[in-house]
């Protein structure tokens, strides 16, 4: 059987090589089914990804609803950077950026080291079943919707909720903390919710990296008399360093994505001063208040800055990734 396939296989690769040199039209005809299969996705990406990008032009006009979307670009009045300067000069800009960056950095401080610590702890457990149980349980919240997570947090952190009950039981506080009535708490609540939801799931990548560490390294460390803590400190952590650095850079690249679901679902009027981030702001002004062009302009600002950050982060990550390999 194998000998039968082999000559045919060689033949096929020769055909493939030859097909590269055929004229374009012939190659298109030859690949008509392949191209046909890619076509629905290509049409899709033009409508749902590139048409909205073109639609960003509405941030430069005074868009009035009514009539077909794209033709109304030409009938709407061109206003240049009016909406952008409106955003930068309004007091909102400072507040929105402060909330976005504060939420992101606070989330990063709590939710970045958490999966790493969890992964190392899981890895050190001797009992296989306990290990599996911890993994299964800790991944679970990732698969629960933000609606439910918001519901859970609103309940747990209410005046009569579980958290206040436990804190009072431990005599850490006398009066219940009104978590959702004090704006200053909100960033911390979002950071905790992010950590609670994704800590387990994000530990997977570290666990995979730990699984790739050569066991001989641990054996050598043991021979040198290293205990468990020293093994973590001098074998596991250095081996994870490239992964940690790359994930940190990518996280910094996504700093403007402070979230939408968690803020929108948990905020109330009393904490809006602190809860409003760039995405919720765009939604509120652009769709709820009907200031379409203004919302589009703010969204455009975010897209551009986020794009620059992510591309820079990827560049840096790639560079560091290459260095650590050799």
């Amino acid at each position: 059987m194998k000998t039968q396939i082999l000559p045919k296989f060689q033949n096929a690769t020769r055909i493939e090589k030859k097909s590269k040199k055929l004229p374009l039209i012939k190659r298109v005809i030859e690949q008509k089914y392949l191209l046909l299969m890619a076509l629905p996705a290509i049409i899709w990406v033009f409508i749902f990804s590139y048409a909205p990008m073109y639609g960003l032009y509405m941030g430069f006009v005074d868009y009035k609803p009514g009539g077909p979307f794209f033709s109304s670009f030409f009938t709407s009045e061109f206003v240049g950077f009016k909406w952008f300067s409106y955003f930068f000069e309004s007091g909102d800009f400072f507040r929105i950026m402060r909330n976005t960056l504060a939420t992101s950095f606070l989330s990063l401080i709590i939710s970045f080291p958490a999966p790493l610590i969890l992964a190392i702890a899981i890895n050190e457990v001797n009992n296989r079943y306990f290990k599996k149980t911890v993994q299964t349980v800790s991944y679970l919240p990732h698969f629960i919707s933000w609606v439910i997570v918001a519901n859970i947090f609103l309940t747990l952190l209410s005046a009569e909720g579980l958290v206040n009950n436990i804190l009072q039981g431990l005599h850490l506080i006398d009066e219940p903390i009104l978590f959702f009535q004090e704006g200053k708490n909100f960033w911390g609540i979002i950071a905790s919710a992010n950590t609670w939801k994704d800590m387990g799931f994000n530990s997977i990548i570290y666990l995979a990296a730990i699984a790739g560490i050569n066991p001989n390294m641990y054996e050598a460390a043991k021979v040198d008399g290293a205990n468990r803590f020293q093994q973590i400190l001098y074998v596991t952590l250095p081996a994870l360093k490239p992964t940690i650095v790359i994930l940190l850079i990518l996280a910094l690249g996504g700093i403007l994505n402070a979230g939408f679901d968690q803020q929108y679902l948990m905020q109330n009027d009393m904490v809006l001063e602190y809860s409003d981030v760039i995405d919720t702001y765009t939604y509120r002004y652009g769709l709820q208040n009907g200031m379409f062009s203004y919302g589009a302009a703010v969204g455009f600002f975010k897209s551009i800055v986020a794009f620059i950050l992510v591309v820079t982060a990827n560049r840096v990550a790639k560079k560091i990734g290459d260095n650590s390999l050799f």
């Binding site: 690949q31 890619a38 073109y54 800790s138 519901n151 859970i152 997977i204």
Partner: protein, 297 residues
């Protein structure tokens, strides 16, 4: 010497056990607390102080929820979008993935770039809404299906998997005169079952959990998904502190005198339980899928 080593190891394992058990409790207790409130007598729940065990066991809230027209309809819409959206999405993703896995494909590089670029830059919410409006998807059921058909990240996962498949079978079929379409459906799809199961489960969970598209892109009450109904209940709860007594009275009359709290918890559980049921299957598959993705990067 040996004894002290064993002792250190035991202490180490105990510390780990305590730490990780705390993590398990922090993860599971919130769910348990919600569950306890949902199975407690609604009138009794108002007294508060329910944490780890129900005081007065009652399934009235579930009965109310499962008879509530809005919730039932929401569940129906959610199941429909999951059942219709997932296979269609898998088909479109894997067709593109297969085409892009061919190194000789005409325009392979620009097409790939065209898709990757959308992972880094997008038009944002407002123009997206306008596009949905101009292709007449706003306030239709298809707004759940069509805009969610494609995911570049999942496409890359599937493409990576297809690229790793042995080429012999495909070449053999080609010699027999099969065209690319036949090869895709008869050979590639069956061989890609593991990755399609993983990606399919992720897409299905995404459909089940999605609330924003229903909340913002649809207006008809009949089109609201379960999660969107939950958001509505959540909003009622949050504004109930600021509502007038009259409004509250009218609201509770509508909800057949079940306290909003127990009702909210029962609704939350109804939306959570299906995820918990499929979760073991997902868990078996997804770690592997994520690994493929991370290797690629």
């Amino acid at each position: 010497m040996r004894k002290s080593v064993i002792k250190v190891e035991t202490v180490f394992q105990i510390i780990l056990f305590i730490f990780l058990t705390t993590i398990i409790l922090v993860t599971l207790l919130p769910f348990w607390n919600i569950f306890v409130i949902s199975i407690n007598n609604a009138q009794d729940t108002i007294r508060g102080g329910l944490y780890f065990w129900p005081r007065d066991l009652s399934f009235e809230s579930y009965k109310t929820i499962l008879m509530d027209r809005e919730i039932l309809n929401g569940a129906k819409v959610t199941v429909l979008r999951t059942v219709i959206g997932t296979p269609l999405s898998l088909l479109m993703i894997s067709m593109l993935a297969y085409a892009l896995s061919k190194r000789t494909l005409v325009g392979r590089k620009p097409i790939t770039f065209m898709f990757i670029f959308t992972m880094f830059f997008g038009g944002g919410l407002i123009p997206y809404y306008m596009v949905l409006k101009s292709v007449h998807l706003i306030d239709t059921f298809w707004v759940y299906i069509i805009p969610n058909l494609m995911s570049v990240f999942y496409m890359i996962l599937v493409r990576t998997f297809i690229e790793q498949l042995p080429k012999e079978l495909e070449e053999c079929a080609k010699m027999e005169g099969a065209n690319d379409l036949q090869i895709f459906f008869k050979i590639i799809l069956p061989l890609s079952k593991p990755i399609l199961a993983t990606v399919g489960l992720f897409i299905a969970i995404g459909h089940w959990n999605s609330w924003f598209d229903s909340y913002v892109f649809t207006y008809k009450p009949d089109l609201k998904t379960l999660q969107a109904v939950l958001v509505k209940i959540l909003n009622q709860y949050q504004t109930s502190g600021m509502m007038s007594d009259q409004q509250q009275l009218a609201d509770s009359a509508k909800r057949m005198a079940v306290s909003p709290d127990s009702l909210r918890m029962a609704a939350t559980m109804v939306a959570t339980i299906p995820i918990m049921i499929v979760y073991p299957f997902v868990q078996k598959h997804f770690a592997q899928g994520i690994m493929v993705g991370s290797i690629k990067e």
